[in-house]
C-alpha cells in the first residue's frame, strides 16, 4: 500500500507543478501585453513631457525659425493639408476604380489574379523605395527637377494605393449578392448595378479604409524626405507646383538639430501630428460602427 501512496503523492506533486507552471505563464503571456501597453504609455509620456511646454497658439501660427522658442509649424501644417488633399484627389478614383474593376467587372482569370497578387506585393514594398520611384519618375522626369507638392502627392498616392484598393474590395465584398441579383433581374447592366446598388452600399466601408490610408500618408516621412530634400521651408504652398514641407519632415529636421532646445518643439509638433492622426482614426472607426449594421443576408 505504501508504494501506491508514493505514486499518488508523486502524481499530486506533478499536478501541482503543472498547475504552477500554468499560473506562471499566464503572468508571462499577460506581461507581453502589459509591456506593449507600457511601451505605448512611455512613448506618449515622453512626448507630452518634452512637448507640452512649447504648445501655444504662436507655435501653430509661426514659421520655422533658427531659434527654437520662436519656431512654429505653420508651413508643415499647410504642406500636410496640401499633400493629404491632393493625395485623396488622386487616390480615391484610382483606388476605388481598381477595386470595382477587380470585384465587379474582372473575370477570375490569370491576368486578374496577377493584378491582385501585384497589389499584395506593392503593399509590402518599403516606403523608401516609393521615394526613389517618386524622385526618378515624378521629380526628375515629369517635373524636370522641381520638388513640388504634386510630385509629393503622386508618390504618396502610389504608396497608399494598395491599402485603398484592399479596403475598398472588402467593402464591395460586404454588399450582399442578392442586392445585385435583384438589380440584374430588373434588366440592369453591370455599370448600372455598380452605380445604383454596390457603390451606395459600399461607400461607408470605403470611406473608413480611405481615411486610414490617408492617415498613413500623413505620418509617412521617408518618401517625402527623399523627394523634397529642402527642409527649411518658411512659406505656405500656394499652388500645386509650390515647394513644401510636411509635419513628419519638420519633426525629423528638428530632431536632427544639434541643439537640445529643438527637441522640445519636435515633441510639440509630434503632439499635433498624433492629435491629427488619432482624430482621423476616430472618425474612421465612427463611420465603420455607424454603418456596420447591415441587413443579414
Amino acid at each position: 500500500m505504501n508504494k501506491q501512496d508514493s505514486i499518488i503523492s508523486k502524481r499530486q506533486k506533478l499536478h501541482a507543478v503543472r498547475v504552477l507552471r500554468d499560473r506562471i505563464f499566464v503572468v508571462g503571456f499577460g506581461l507581453a501585453v502589459i509591456i506593449g501597453i507600457l511601451g505605448l504609455a512611455a512613448l506618449l509620456f515622453d512626448v507630452l513631457v518634452d512637448g507640452l511646454p512649447f504648445m501655444n497658439i504662436n507655435f501653430l501660427t509661426s514659421y520655422a525659425s533658427r531659434k527654437a522658442e520662436h519656431s512654429g509649424i505653420l508651413a508643415p501644417l499647410a504642406g500636410t493639408i496640401w499633400i493629404v488633399g491632393m493625395t485623396a484627389l488622386f487616390t480615391i478614383p484610382i483606388g476605388v476604380g481598381t477595386a470595382i474593376y477587380l470585384e465587379e467587372f474582372a473575370s477570375k482569370n490569370r491576368i486578374n489574379r496577377l493584378i491582385e497578387l501585384n497589389i499584395a506585393n506593392l503593399a509590402g514594398v518599403p516606403s523608401v523605395i516609393y521615394g526613389l520611384l517618386g524622385l526618378a519618375l515624378f521629380v526628375q522626369f515629369l517635373f524636370n527637377g522641381s520638388r513640388n507638392v504634386t510630385a509629393g502627392a503622386l508618390t504618396m498616392t502610389l504608396l497608399i494605393l494598395p491599402i485603398v484598393v484592399i479596403a475598398s474590395q472588402e467593402a464591395i465584398k460586404a454588399v450582399p449578392s442578392s442586392y445585385r441579383h435583384a438589380a440584374y433581374a430588373m434588366g440592369a447592366n453591370r455599370w448600372q448595378v455598380v452605380k445604383a446598388i454596390v457603390l451606395p452600399q459600399a461607400i461607408p466601408g470605403m470611406m473608413s479604409g480611405i481615411i486610414l490610408a490617408l492617415s498613413r500618408a500623413i505620418g509617412e516621412s521617408a518618401p517625402i524626405l527623399i523627394i523634397s530634400s529642402l527642409v527649411w521651408v518658411t512659406f505656405i504652398p500656394t499652388s500645386p507646383d509650390s515647394k513644401f514641407t510636411v509635419l513628419p519632415l519638420q519633426i525629423f529636421t528638428w530632431i536632427s538639430q544639434p541643439q537640445h532646445s529643438f527637441r522640445g518643439i519636435a515633441a510639440a509638433a509630434i503632439i499635433v501630428l498624433l492629435i491629427v492622426l488619432l482624430s482621423m482614426n476616430g472618425i474612421a472607426i465612427w463611420i465603420r460602427s455607424k454603418y456596420q449594421s447591415r441587413p443579414d443576408q
Binding site: 499577460g30 507581453a32 515622453d46 474593376y101 506585393n121 506593392l122 518599403p126
Partner: protein, 316 residues
Amino acid sequence: MATTSEIQSNSDLLERVARQRRRQHAEQTVFAWLLRAAALISVLTTVGIVIILVAQSAGFFAEVSPWEFLTGTEWAPLFSPQKFGVLSLVGGTLLVALIAGIVSLTLGLGAAIFLSEYAPERLRRILKPILEVLAGIPTVVYGYFALTFVTPILQNIFGHDQVIVFNALSAGLVMGLMIMPMVSTLSEDAMVAVPRSLRDAAYALGATRFEVSTKVVIPAALSGIVASFILGVSRAIGETMIVKIAAGATPNLTLNPLESIQAMTAYIVQVSLGETPQGSLEYKTIFAVGLLLFVMTLAMNIVGRWVISRFRQQYE
C-alpha cells in the same frame, strides 16, 4: 384593332427604349475601360519601380562590379578612395531587424497566446485596439522615442562609455515595439484558425491551458507564427526613420548592438538629403542599394505569404 397613331406611338416608344439601351451600353463600355485603366496603374507602379531601380543601378554596376558590391565589407562611397562593399550596410540592417524580430516575436507571440487562449472576450476587446494604436504611430515618432527615451536608459544600464548615442540596440528595441501588433495579429489569426476540437481533446485528457497552448495550439499554428515573424522582419528591414534617427550613420559590420551602424534605408535617405549631383556615381548608389532592399523584402514577403496560404489550406 390599333389605330395608326397608336402604332406610331408604340414604335416611338420602342425606338426610345432602344436608344436608351444603346446609351446605357455605351456608358458601361466607357466606364469599364476607365476602371480597367485604374487597375492598370498598380501594375505600372510595379513595372516603374523595377525599371527605375534596374536602369539606375545598371549605370552603377557598369563602374563597380556586382561582385565587389555584394562581397565587399567596407562602404565609403562619399570618400576617396571609394569603397562599395554593401555588406556593412546589409549587416547593419540585419542587426537591427534581428533585434526587432526577436522583440516583436517574443512580445507578439506572448500577446497572441494571451489574447486567443487566456483572455476573456471582454478583456480582449479592450486590449487589442490599445495594442493596435502602436501600429498607427508614425515612424518618425518612434525615432524620437528611441533617441530621447530608450537610448538614455540603455546608457544608464550599460554605461555611457559603452553605449554610443546612436546605436543599433535602441533602434531595434523600439522597432520591435512598433512591429509587435502586426506579429501579434497574424499569430492570433493563425491560432484562432486551429480547430476547437483539438483543444477540447487536450483539455479532456487533463491538460492545463499552458500545455494546450504550447503543445497543441502553437504546433498547429506554427506556420502562421513563422510567417508573422518573416513578415515582421521584412517590415523591419524596410523601415527608415527609426534607423535614420537613432541607429547612426556609420557603416559598420558588427554584431555588437551597442555600436553605431548604418542601415541600407538610412544610407538612401542620407544621400538624398545631401548635395550629391544627379547622375553621379554616388547618386546611383542609392538605387543599387534600393534594388537590393527591394529584392530582399520582396523575397521575404513572398515566402511569408506562401507559408500563410499553405497553412490556411490545412484546416479548410
